[in-house]
Symmetry: C2
Subunit: 416 residues, 2 copies
């Protein structure tokens, strides 16, 4: 454990916002203030927030959070979306040098970055550059992503709240679908990992689940190659049996060659700094799948079945109906990062480990752990095979894993 | 007041489901049971639910609700979407004759139909046919529609809960938009009436509202002719000033000739029995508006602005986060209809009247009132002029009108 060096702390938020990313921000601020940050004689002078992530840092744009009243912090924690502003910039080596320069200019010695795998990679590069020139900078990554695709984590803050929205929306939408029968497609976020799409399965009844009488009936994940012919057959089989079909599809579904089905469909699709082609913010994938079904399921000389598609869109990542556990843990990872920095650690990423095996009957419990930045940086986690059943469903293991995260879901009555 | 004739009661749900339509169903059942329905000696023998509205009635498909346990009823009331099943059938004269025939066959003497203006028209025709042949049938219409477009009503059950979803979704989405700036379009339900789209304005801060710093900044209603050029100018003005723009558009926006902008864009759009062309269940309108902006706002030789579009879709009408007032009133209109029937009225539609002028400082209060079926049937209410400001905003009068309906909204902290 090394002596704490005197200087400022900076916190940034990066990538797609979530409903609990401000909990993590507030967790770091509280953690640092609890250790005396800003008080006379404390090594940490100021607690600064980057305005729009590393972009704001390099431009010298900060929010001073050192003395923000606790009551404002508590309301900020409950506020969805990145309160500091976020950024999609993906710093390369040269950009990271500018970040480090800005840190030196503003005497920043404590660096906290809340984000997904790209953000952890930014942390790693900045940390390595600082080490090279022997500028003492404590660098911590704090996990966040609705995609739940960080390695080394049981799950990531942001995912449980988004999963809660998806489960509740699918619950209501399935009831809508049996009330006015037809074929309904819902498109859910998740570029490479199917966790959020899989969470739609929590919409089904926990007890007495019946495949034909609970939705969604078909779930398509990016981890399983999407085959158009098979999709039409799947839908037709359920539609023939019940006169309706409730389908959830990940925006990231791809064919056997790994080509995303959705990206090719969006007219004038835009690409971000990470080279990611736009998948969200368009209804194109849902609309084309709906059209595919209308064209292929129309009986000769007959009328096509009623097919509708909704794309849940950005609202799923920020909807203000947070999972309690998610709020608690998002705060927790922030506080834990502050504690690591104040207790002498030089760098690392905070990870969430589950204590008891899901489905074991033991209560849900987690602990935080420091892992190496390079263990997390720029890596993507996918749905494990044990969470997937066949080509269009999730397993009981996934339900056991996911259910405690989202919190209590409404209980409904059905007359059938 | 006439003596009650002995027979069965039937209740049906029609049209698009809502988050509180089962409250109304339960309200009727409770109202009839409170008056002794099903008990020995009571004129009402059985309380039946039509399976999928008048279609199920003509096919003799019922749920027997006479003895359903109260605990199940209470959970059913909180369950979104039509628990009995709904229908889009729009009965003509011949269909209504079949309905009346089915009533005679099943000794139905009390007829309750929960729905919008088309459903009240069904009620009216069935009632007139019954009168013609002197078959005593008490016919009551119970209001329901997220579109809020029934005449004779201050507002209609279903609207406040849908408005609550739209306001909360826009609140979160605006925060998302200022966190990652760009142009964002949200498409909201409402074929002819802009009430639900207008409710997005509740996403703005109640105090200290600032047009550039609160969203949505532009609101397009079906009541105001949509002009493409003006739309592009509106967006460009705000985008130039702030680097972002948050827009809400009704799915029902139409040009000066009354042609819907959206319907023409949906590939293979489907038409329902009411002759309504599909507007929901497709992202086409949002996507085309996004495309229009990308094409027209790209600086010469530059890159287009970041434009995204989400279509809120069916989830807005059934999302399980009901307004308390909506739940209470939806139950209330059902109970009131039962009371009208049991106290001797022969027909009518239940309407909600507001007691105190919105914005008067007096507390929110309503009363129920019986109105003639023909006063409501097949008529459409639009946003009154006093609720609209300019060509792309709503007035303070609308906010005063709408705010008490949706219930408390989250309070957020902003760092700007």
């Amino acid at each position: 454990m090394s002596e704490l060096i005197s200087g400022n702390a900076v916190i940034g938020q990066s990538g797609g916002p979530t409903a609990v990313i401000n909990e993590s921000l507030v967790g770091v601020v509280q953690g640092l203030r609890a250790a005396g940050a800003g008080l006379p004689g404390n090594p940490i002078r100021k607690v600064l927030g980057m305005h729009h992530g590393v972009r704001g840092l390099t431009e010298g744009k900060f929010h001073d959070l050192t003395d923000i009243p606790s009551e404002r912090l508590e309301i900020l924690a409950r506020t969805p979306s990145a309160g500091l502003g976020s950024t999609r910039d993906k710093p390369n080596h040269a950009y990271c040098e500018r970040i480090l320069e800005a840190c030196r200019e503003h005497n920043i010695r404590y660096f906290f970055y809340i984000g997904g795998n790209d953000s952890s990679d930014t942390c790693r590069i900045v940390n390595e550059l600082a080490n090279e020139i022997k500028y003492e900078l404590r660098c911590f990554h704090i996990p966040k992503t609705v995609d739940n695709d960080l390695v080394e984590n049981d799950h990531t803050p942001g995912f449980p709240s988004a999963a809660r929205f998806v489960a509740k929306a699918c619950m209501a939408d399935f009831l809508d679908n049996i009330s006015l029968p037809g074929i309904k497609i819902n498109v859910v976020m998740g570029r490479h990992a199917g966790f959020l799409t899989a969470a739609s399965a929590l919409a089904r009844r926990e007890e007495g689940y019946d495949r034909l009488n609970d939705g969604p009936q078909l779930i398509y994940l990016p981890e399983i190659a999407f085959k158009t012919e098979r999709f039409i057959e799947d839908v037709a089989r359920i539609f023939d049996e019940t006169g309706r079909c409730h389908i959830v599809v990940s925006e990231g579904i791809q064919d056997a060659e790994g080509t995303p089905i959705g990206a090719t469909l969006i007219e004038n699709a835009q690409t971000d700094a990470h080279g990611n082609v736009q998948l969200s913010g368009s209804g194109a994938l849902g609309d084309q799948l709906a059209n595919l079904l209308k064209e292929n399921m129309t009986p000769a000389g007959g009328t096509p079945p009623r097919v509708r598609a909704d794309t849940f869109g950005y609202v799923q990542r920020c909807f203000p109906d947070q999972s309690r556990i998610d709020q608690h843990e998002a705060r927790g990872v922030g506080r834990y990062a502050a504690r690591l920095a104040m207790s002498g650690d030089m760098d690392g990423s905070v990870s969430i480990k589950r204590m008891n095996e899901p489905g074991s009957g033991q209560p849900y419990a987690i602990r935080y752990e420091r892992v190496e930045l390079r263990a997390v940086a720029a890596k993507t986690r996918h749905m494990p095979e044990a969470f997937i059943e066949g080509h269009c469903d999730v397993s009981q293991a996934f339900l056991d894993y996911c259910r405690p995260l989202v919190g209590a879901l409404p209980l409904y009555e059905r007359l059938d």
